[in-house]
């Protein structure tokens, strides 16, 4: 059992964790940077430890400072939230070495899911489908791999990222020239010419499964669809994944449970899949070994408090829920209200929120740390808050979302509200089941 919980995070997720911990009778200590010492989470925690100056590298990302503050506060557990140190194996090791429980999975799971290539290998071991493809050290190997993978395909730099060294090849006669270019780019950018051949999914959806495990057994809490993204960051999330045959959804859910069981997974985790929007074939991408920003949509359709489950499991309890206890009811949608000027390429817009009028009423949940007069410091990410709506059907949830956005009024900083108003009026979104290219066709 956890009695004194140190929260190594900020913003809405820190407040979210404080709320559940308080309900469970757990004392909360917030580790805050100097810039956040007067934030709503800081005012809400039982105690505040200032862990360092404003920049994340000297506070929220400073593993030594966080562990030292937690020890000084007499904490028996640390909740890392999402981002920052939440999936950092070295941090989890330091926490354990200090005799403090880490609210997250065991080190073995953190390490296994730590990089994409390793996650792929573990996924294959667990029997999950992965995007067809493989590594190619030279041109001949790439050609042979392409034969097996099929077209269209993507060439990616093994050491790469951010789209550099990535080439799309539609037909065999383009392959040679594209391999040369991809290898040259990979060499120039990363000092490693190896490329990776992968089937290109033209119309892909991002579907993920929430899982819970206690090391012995694991269950799922249904799917979420997070296909509406920009710069690989999610903007809209919903549960369950819409417009998908029931048997395919069930297959994805059981694949996720298989992975969690294979890992002996402990705590809350999310297994991410790429789903072909036309055939509904699905491929394992990676697992996020932490709570997710979009967890409230799952809470809305299951009635299960995921933070409570995390704290119970980290405290040593067995999973009290069986799969048959999890009933998915209705539909929920979350939109992220970010402090960004989305019309100027999502330029960050920090500052003082002079007025924050959030919607309220039946079916509406607001997770935010921003009240009128709240500060949005320039040091951290731009999430102001999340608007979550739930209703018996998806159509009702979409309608409720539209009405709630009309009432949302944030003054003092730019926000993504009007972008979401355009999304909620888009015929493709209303129909449901959009793919990750959604933004290309959005008129706003």
């Amino acid at each position: 059992m956890i009695r004194r919980l140190f929260i190594a995070n900020r913003g809405e997720i820190a407040l979210r964790i404080i709320r559940t911990a308080r309900r469970m009778g757990i004392v909360t200590i917030l580790g805050a940077s100097a810039a956040d010492a007067r934030s709503l989470p800081a005012r809400s925690a039982d105690d505040v430890a200032v862990i360092g100056p404003a920049p994340s590298a000297q506070s929220y990302l400073d593993s030594d400072a966080v562990v030292a503050a937690a020890v000084a506060a007499g904490a028996d557990a640390i909740h890392p939230g999402y981002g920052f140190l939440s999936e950092n194996a070295a941090f989890a090791r330091a926490v354990a070495a200090a005799g403090i429980r880490f609210v997250g999975p065991d080190l073995s799971s953190l390490t296994a899911m730590g990089d994409k290539l390793m996650a792929r290998t573990v996924g294959i071991e667990a029997g999950l489908p992965v995007v067809p493809g493989g590594e190619a050290g030279d041109k001949a190997a790439a050609r042979a791999q392409a034969e097996r993978t099929g077209y269209p395909l993507l060439l990616k730099a093994v050491s790469g990222g951010g789209g550099r060294g990535m080439k799309r090849v539609d037909a065999p006669d383009q392959l040679d020239a594209q391999i040369d270019m991809a290898m040259a780019e990979a060499q120039a950018a990363f000092g490693d010419p190896r490329v990776y051949v992968e089937r290109f999914i033209a119309r892909g959806r991002h579907v993920e499964v929430q899982v819970l495990g206690d090391g012995n057994t694991a269950i799922h809490l249904g799917t979420r669809d997070c296909s509406i993204q920009r710069r690989f960051q999610k903007l809209v999330e919903e549960a369950p994944a819409p417009a998908m045959p029931d048997d395919r959804r069930a297959a994805i859910e059981s694949a996720a449970v298989n992975l969690a069981r294979h890992l002996g997974y402990k705590g809350a985790g999310t297994v991410e899949f790429l789903v072909d929007a036309e055939t509904f074939e699905f491929y394992f991408l990676e697992m996020n070994a932490r709570i997710q920003v979009e967890h409230p949509v799952t809470e809305a359709i299951t009635g299960i408090d995921l933070i409570e489950q995390q704290l119970l499991i980290a405290g040593g309890a067995r999973l009290a829920l069986r799969q048959s206890d999890v009933q998915l009811l209705g539909h929920a949608i979350e939109v992220r209200i970010n402090a960004e000027d989305w019309r100027a390429d999502f330029r960050p817009s920090p500052g003082t929120v002079t007025r924050a009028a959030w919607p309220a009423g039946p079916g509406i949940r607001i997770d935010t740390h921003i009240a009128s007069g709240g500060e949005v410091p320039p040091y951290y990410d731009s999430l102001l808050g999340k608007l979550i709506v739930s209703a018996p059907t998806r159509a009702e949830a979409v309608a409720l979302l539209g009405r709630a956005l009309d009432r949302l009024c944030i003054e003092g900083v730019d926000t993504t509200r009007d972008l979401h108003r355009a999304i909620v009026q888009d015929a493709r979104f209303i129909a449901g089941g959009v793919d990750t290219r959604f933004f290309e066709g959005l008129t706003a």
């Binding site: 709320r19 100097a34 007067r38 005012r43 330029r347 009028a357 959030w358 309220a360 509406i364 009240a371």
Partner: protein, 153 residues
């Protein structure tokens, strides 16, 4: 340190909204020593508007909010607050030095805000006369970063 007196939970707010809905009133204002909450009707639904009493906690925030330097004349101003960098990477040569001729599209620095690097453009034609802020310092929105002189005719 703060008392464990959290402003009301989302469930509390939902209940207040339901109470208001059953009345003929348009809004409910709740003010305590620590916060103010206004739940109000708005069209077909309701809004919640929070503000917090301005008590000071130890270790008060050190966000750069100083007034922008009083520079007049031709200047490059910060388009947004953040950390100002004169070079694209640590150890790399600065984008511009005094004496450099710039045009509106010339990148003269970057500002790191919310984990993103945002280029700063000169915005005008001119010659850099002086760099007014140090590398890697926090700057406020609108702060003068560089002074310029009119380009030679």
């Amino acid at each position: 340190m703060s008392m464990p007196d959290l402003p009301l939970t989302p469930d509390d707010v939902a209940e207040i909204a339901a109470i208001l809905d059953g009345t003929a009133y348009d809004r409910i204002d709740i003010t305590t020593a620590r916060f103010r909450l206004r739940v109000a009707r708005d069209g077909q639904g309701m809004t919640q508007d929070w503000s917090l009493a301005d008590d000071t906690l130890p270790g008060t925030a050190a966000v750069a909010t100083q007034a922008p330097a009083a520079e007049t004349g031709l200047c490059v101003h910060a388009p947004l607050p953040g950390t100002f960098y004169r070079a694209p990477a640590p150890g790399a040569p600065p984008f511009v030095e005094p004496g450099a001729t710039v045009s509106p599209d010339t990148v003269v620095g970057i500002i790191e805000t919310m984990k993103l690097m945002n280029p700063v453009h000169a915005g005008v034609h001119g010659v850099i006369d002086a760099i007014l802020v140090d590398n890697a310092t926090m700057i406020a929105k609108g702060e003068a970063l560089m002074r310029l002189t009119e380009p030679q005719a």
